[in-house]
Symmetry: C2
């Protein structure tokens, strides 16, 4: 099926969907009668292009084509996916579905971004209710991986499988909700907290800023990486979940009556919240807040990626999808021409790699070179399994020469030449480029060590032989200008 | 007042308090009749020593002395702070307070870790109710900064000020709750989510793992850096908070009856939760989960620190407290002897600076050297203000030689020698040490640039003059072995 998605409704959520599909190589057609739709989606796309590519340690595919359409008919003609993000009124959604289904292929899926309606409500009166399901995302859609997939009883199981495949393919985490329920799962929690927060503001217990701090200085940090139950499992200690429940269960019946009631949204309460929010965040425009949020999220998600945990583990898995063609080789066999420098890194510069000078920080050059060295080690057989068996390479010496600057979002690559690779040493020369522009070189002397003695040792044959083969092939290459130079020698 | 704290009750929470005080240089006395208390606190301390020091970019003060005591009388004698973390039963807490107050200085504060009792309840019948208040922390106490301070109407305002000063001094974020209320603030949110989660498990809507994923793949990431209101402010777009409430307010009255009721903790429900939690997390021991959590938190909190946002901004502020003596100089005037290498970095190796080889990653050496170069720039007048005015130094070339390994938690320092500093260039030689052991050297050629043209330019006099002065003073120093060498020359 063609990788084209139709976005019906192009607000903040529809724009986020458009960005996620486009940056993962899908073509995107947008239908939205709002004359501002093109500008609004452009703003979301700008944010997404700055933030999303650098999440991964592999370059995203080439961006798809974006087009805007005046009629639903041509928008959905031949597409594999329709994402509906129109206002939360059932009669509008039913009208959209009717028009979509008049022109849509039967194998395509219609996902609804609804946070409030159940699939059975959406499917009511549809020409083909089996291709409609809830696919509820979270803002910013181009960064947060969670997507609640709620098929209900009527949706075709093949549509659910296709939905999971498509959503996983664009880096999302499809959480299939087995029984339909009002507000799905996550929004039930958000709603519970929102009600409680409204009471606290209304009763003068806390301001919006104090409430936000009560979240982000405490349990918000926990929940970004473990959820509720895993966190409480730890709190229960070795005695476990059962002990935790025994200890804290009785609190449930304490007289927290506020939790049981709904505050009335009087003009006074709305004023109170709006003015507190201005005092808290009014010094930043919404665009600024979006960029601050995105940079925070990218930094935190990349730190979870380095730990291979939660949202970060998902991103690591997506790297393999992005490198499915092995453009960045994993073994010597993946390399077409051994007598050329090896592509050892191909990625975008993440938001959190830049510094106060507005460009990629020097330490991140060495991170890129280090990642490139890791890749070359893997290619010659120094794999995680080999390392677990007790051998690895440590860097003994590094020489970096900077020739140009590069900024967040830019696509960079490293090409690596093996200057020598025999005995205990491996001598590498990395060049980092943005397009044709050479940004820096990194010359590195690595020593093979025994991880037990932490001393130099000979690599095992399964590493020594491929390394020797690559070094021999690279011997025909010209010695790079700058190799072997000291600081200040050009 | 002497910087000694008494910890009454040494479980997970008391242990976390002990760790926070100790690692911030306070002496800690522990009273807990549990024969296992010493072992339990030892385990918490081990976690804290691994995770907490590296949170900051400054070394923590020397650890205080830890002692265990058999009687409350000697535990609290002469201390400035008593932290009560005994079981959540009011009669036990009253008994403890009575014994504590029989021996405590009147200026000291008694903070209670209670999550459920209000200060007015704790203060009932006390000899001096004005020195008792709630100081409610969040697990892990040695990492999460939030501390709810609830004085109630009776507590002495001077005690509240002293509490804020002490808690800020140990790196916490005191959130003063102006009106006492059941469960303070954060736990009201946790409780609301917990109830809802119990219903979802009980009704077979989602498993514990699915609920945790619904949190950590979505809004949990948002809440680690902005709270509820700032996040919704963004969702409202330029139209703001008022628009958001108008759009989503009506949802409040939807028939989500589950939110209004309390699930009964039947044996069946407890079994269901415990077995789902085993399936989800049972492959990790609780100690493993603690270490995973701590490494995740340190990585995320450090990434917020790099953005100077939320919990990270708090940590940056704490760096100034930690460097109050200017041991690491901020200007030339802070340096006692200009004719010696300058201390430009003094910190612990953070958990997220290590790699698959189990030691500090090569890129983090350059991060440490880069931070040291930044510090030297600041010392010679290339401050954030100067950079904002349009001049800065960019690194042109770097040569790193590794001599030893170092591990997470170790205290490292960088000493910097200015090889030359005149015209457009600044030539630095950094040595990084753990104690007396030299780990690596970094030789760096920096070029002064105009941030407008991005080309080399002469520094302004307020930078050129101090740099020349320091370079002249360093001219008497021996040229370091290894300076000016190419790779492979030793």
């Amino acid at each position: 099926m063609t990788r084209t998605a139709a976005i019906i409704g192009g607000g903040l959520i529809g724009g986020g969907w458009a960005a996620r599909f486009l940056l993962n190589g899908w073509n995107v057609r947008v239908f939205d009668p709002d004359p501002e739709a093109q500008r609004k989606i452009g703003e979301v796309l700008e944010n997404a292009r700055a933030a999303m590519p650098g999440l991964y340690d592999m370059a995203l595919p080439e961006e798809g084509a974006l087009s805007f359409h005046n009629a639903i008919a041509e928008t959905v003609d031949g597409v594999a996916w329709v994402q509906e993000s129109v206002p939360e009124r059932l009669e509008i959604k039913h009208k959209v579905f009717a028009e979509v289904q008049a022109h849509l292929d039967s194998e395509a899926v219609i996902g609804s971004s609804t946070s409030g309606f159940k699939p059975s409500e959406l499917q009511q009166g549809a020409k083909d209710p089996t291709q409609i399901l809830v696919t509820h995302p979270f803002n910013p859609v181009y960064l947060l991986p969670l997507i609640e997939v709620v098929p209900g009883d009527t949706c075709d199981p093949r549509a659910v499988e296709w939905a999971k495949e498509v959503l996983t393919g664009i880096g999302m985490y499809p959480l299939v909700v087995r029984k339909e329920i009002d507000a799905h799962i996550a929004d039930r929690f958000l709603e519970a907290v929102w009600r409680e927060a409204l009471w606290l503001v209304r009763d003068g217990i806390a301001t919006t800023e104090e409430i936000d701090d009560a979240i982000r200085m405490g349990f918000g940090l926990r929940w970004a990486q473990m959820g509720l139950f895993e966190t409480y499992r730890i709190a229960g200690g070795e005695a476990g979940m059962r002990h935790f429940i025994a200890q804290f269960g009785p609190c449930l019946t304490w007289p927290w009556t506020r939790l049981m009631d709904v505050p009335e949204l009087t003009d006074e309460l709305v004023d109170q919240i709006a003015s507190q929010s201005d005092a808290q965040s009014g010094q930043h425009s919404i665009r600024d807040l979006e960029r601050i949020r995105d940079a925070n999220l990218v930094g935190m998600m990349r730190s979870l990626k380095a730990r291979d945990w939660g949202a970060g583990a998902l991103m690591n898995a997506h790297d393999s999808v992005l490198n499915a063609t092995r453009r960045v080789p994993e073994t010597l066999d993946d390399i077409a021409d051994l007598a050329r420098p090896v592509l050892t890194l191909d990625r975008a510069v993440p938001l959190d790699w830049t510094d106060y000078n507005g460009h990629m920080n020097e330490a991140r050059y060495l991170q890129a070179f280090g990642d490139a060295s890791d890749r070359l080690m893997q290619i010659v057989g120094c794999t995680p399994d080999y390392i677990a068996s007790g051998g690895s390479y440590f860097t003994a010496e590094t020489h970096i020469r900077h020739m140009g600057e590069v900024h967040a979002g830019a696509r960079i690559r490293v090409e690596t030449q093996v200057l020598s690779g025999a005995g205990k040493t491996m001598h590498l020369f990395h060049r980092i480029y943005e397009g044709d522009r050479e940004l820096a070189t990194g010359e590195h002397m690595l020593i093979h060590v025994s991880l037990e003695t932490r001393r130099a040792s000979d690599p095992a044959p399964q590493v020594a032989a491929p390394l020797a083969r690559l070094a021999a092939a690279h011997a025909v290459l010209e010695r790079p200008a700058g190799a072997g130079a000291a600081i200040g020698q050009r």
